[in-house]
Symmetry: C2
Subunit: 396 residues, 2 copies
């Protein structure tokens, strides 16, 4: 058994944490129980469950590789043009496994111990990315839990053979079926969703669809996704990433969409982009929608930003959402912790007896302060074992 | 003479820096000259001129004091209501000098060696804030250059006696005349600006006006400020802080306003707020407007955010402006360095022989990387003397 003393909990109290076999066996008021000589004194640092990184692209980051300047699209933003630029960039990059490890260790060092990564599957790249990232996942199995999404970066209908490749990717070990702008990319909302939901049904897999389409078009697609989720018995297993449309429509249209999303337990992922409308976190949460967070791209061909720190992402979500009050800052934090765990369907998440002892100790007095200060002084524990300190991985 | 070797300059080259009497005496290609045994090896770290913090409130931050939860206004955002909440909060806070020192050392530790702070002057607080912050400025004279703005937080016409107090504040040592929403706060654009420009003329002082008023109202006020700046021979000595209106109007109206601002060299300060329209940095710069940056409030009664790090502010300005390309990231950096120095009228700024040896060495390969990565590993030099490392002040 391991003991961690004087952990500051979110309610402000000090607790002692006992861990057996990688799980919390007891959480008691500080000083109440017997203390082992080997106990670790957390010295009043804030202890929170490990962060949930809900959306990254392990295969396409250049983090830790040479700097690759961003190039604009020739004619405004165009997903197809951006995908082509990415292909050129990747051809010149360091080996994928090395780049994936860099990014993964960045996230892990900052305190994310579960992660959902999209991995590109297309006629061009085949299953090469999936093979590589599956192997990297295996390497880090003891360090971080990774869900992989078979992601049709070049569309499904537009890239013949992709559906079959996605089928194979799921057999190989991918956990979820991805999708990409059924309307603007594949030009066939029904066809795209037939493929996505068909694969999910066949494999008993969840779904996570990239949806950049805005305004009424995006809202229509969200409606279609909600309807299919209900019709196919997939309630609680579907997510829509980005869903910019929800940040662009009038309040009454938003309210109807939010009710649908809540009823079908379709989760919404946002990274709180800097210069683009994004889903209104407070309104969606108030309507009962599961809103989770992710870094999205980290220094890749889509943008140069990203630091792999979900605490800083909570800060950004709060900043962009106009969250100033303590309860709002706590909401932003919840997006990257508990609600993230709900969205990913994680087992044994939280600071309760029986839960997995995956936690982060932060130099902050409470959650609101942690969200505004984003202290880099932190210790990351995986199954009770110290795996990173102040952003640096230990023992690899 | 001091020597600093292997400084990475913004153009990627390595240079050796020589400093005499607190100023750069020579900047040569690395290895070209003789090296003193006492030379400091900067080891290829990026060297940039110290950051310019263009807008803080040294008298009202709670940084380093007890946490003071943000309270919303009862009826949406209302400056008057917020000022009253601030007065209640300040009454319970730690001594002002202590809070000012905390904030100042935070900014200094992160690499800002020049700063413009607004300091509240009103019938209620009289000159108490000014007295305190003048004394704190004196304490830190060798560490950081501070410009103080006599800031009418409760209005000028709405708070009788304020104009006389501001007059006194300028005699005492304040450098600039402040202002606050001439229309929405004082209800008299002409009267407010008469007072502000009158005081500036009397004292030969610059002007920095808080302008939250949005849309066409804010634009009207900007037009009035521009007209008076020209008429009173104040070209290059006037700034408008926030200027939200510039982010809210149509392109043609923006273009006209930008031309006026450029012609009168009226500078615009932004902190790139998270959930509010703000001045379009790229468009204004393209029109020749001096855009500078500031933290604005740091953990005070107005919001809980702020970290006193102008490099992170450059990141935020870039993120919020949709700056992805290297040249755009360099623009965001310029806002918190060279253009900031222009806005504040700083003497001897930059990395050139003759300039003051106020610089920051950062663990980054180049400026774009520094802006996206915001490395906390940094060393801050004041007149060639190491004064802070990794955010921590040395030797106080």
């Amino acid at each position: 058994m391991q003991q961690f003393l004087n952990a500051r909990l979110a309610d402000g109290t000090l607790a002692d944490l006992s861990v057996s076999n990688g799980r919390f066996s007891a959480i008691t008021s500080a000083g109440d129980g017997t203390r082992a000589a080997s106990a670790v004194d957390l010295d009043g640092w804030l202890v929170v469950p490990a962060f949930v990184e809900g959306h990254v692209h392990l295969d396409t980051s250049f983090y830790g590789d040479a700097w690759r300047p961003h190039m604009p699209c020739a004619n405004g933003f165009d997903v197809r043009e951006r995908v082509a630029f990415q292909a050129r960039n990747l051809a010149a990059a360091a080996p994928m496994a090395e780049r994936a490890r860099n990014q993964l260790e960045l996230c892990l060092g900052n305190g994310s111990l579960s992660m959902r990564s999209h991995v590109m599957v297309s006629a061009d790249v085949g299953l090469k990315h999936v093979e590589c990232i599956l192997a990297v996942r295996e390497e880090y199995r003891d360090w971080i839990d990774i869900q992989l999404v078979a992601f049709p970066q070049s569309g499904i209908l537009s890239s013949p053979g992709t559906s079959e490749l996605m089928d194979e990717a799921l057999k190989m070990g991918c956990d979820l079926v991805g999708g990409l702008d059924p309307a603007s990319f594949d030009g066939d909302v029904k066809g795209h969703l037939d493929a996505v939901f068909g694969l999910a049904e066949k494999h008993g897999a969840g779904i996570d669809i990239h949806l950049h389409d805005g305004g009424s078009l995006g809202l229509f697609e969200i409606g279609e996704i909600v309807a299919r989720t209900k019709a196919s018995g997939m309630v609680g297993k579907v997510a829509v990433s980005h869903a910019y449309a929800l940040g662009e429509v009038e309040p009454d249209a938003l309210a109807r969409a939010a009710d649908g999303l809540a009823a079908a337990s379709v989760a919404i992922m946002t990274n709180a982009p800097g210069s683009h409308a994004f889903p209104p976190v407070a309104a969606l949460r108030a309507a009962g929608v599961t809103v989770f967070g992710g870094s999205d791209n980290i220094r890749d061909s889509w943008w140069p930003y990203g630091d792999g720190d979900m605490l800083n992402r909570a800060n950004m979500i709060g900043y962009r959402s106009g969250f100033y009050e303590d309860r709002e800052l706590e909401d932003a934090f919840d997006v990257v912790t508990h609600t993230g765990a709900t969205a990913l369907g994680l087992e044994g998440y939280g600071l309760v007896p029986g839960a997995r002892a995956d936690f982060v100790a932060l130099k902050a007095a409470h959650v609101p302060e942690a969200v505004v200060a984003v202290p880099r002084e932190r210790a990351v524990y995986r199954a009770g074992r110290l795996v990173a300190r102040d952003g640096k991985l230990l023992g690899r």
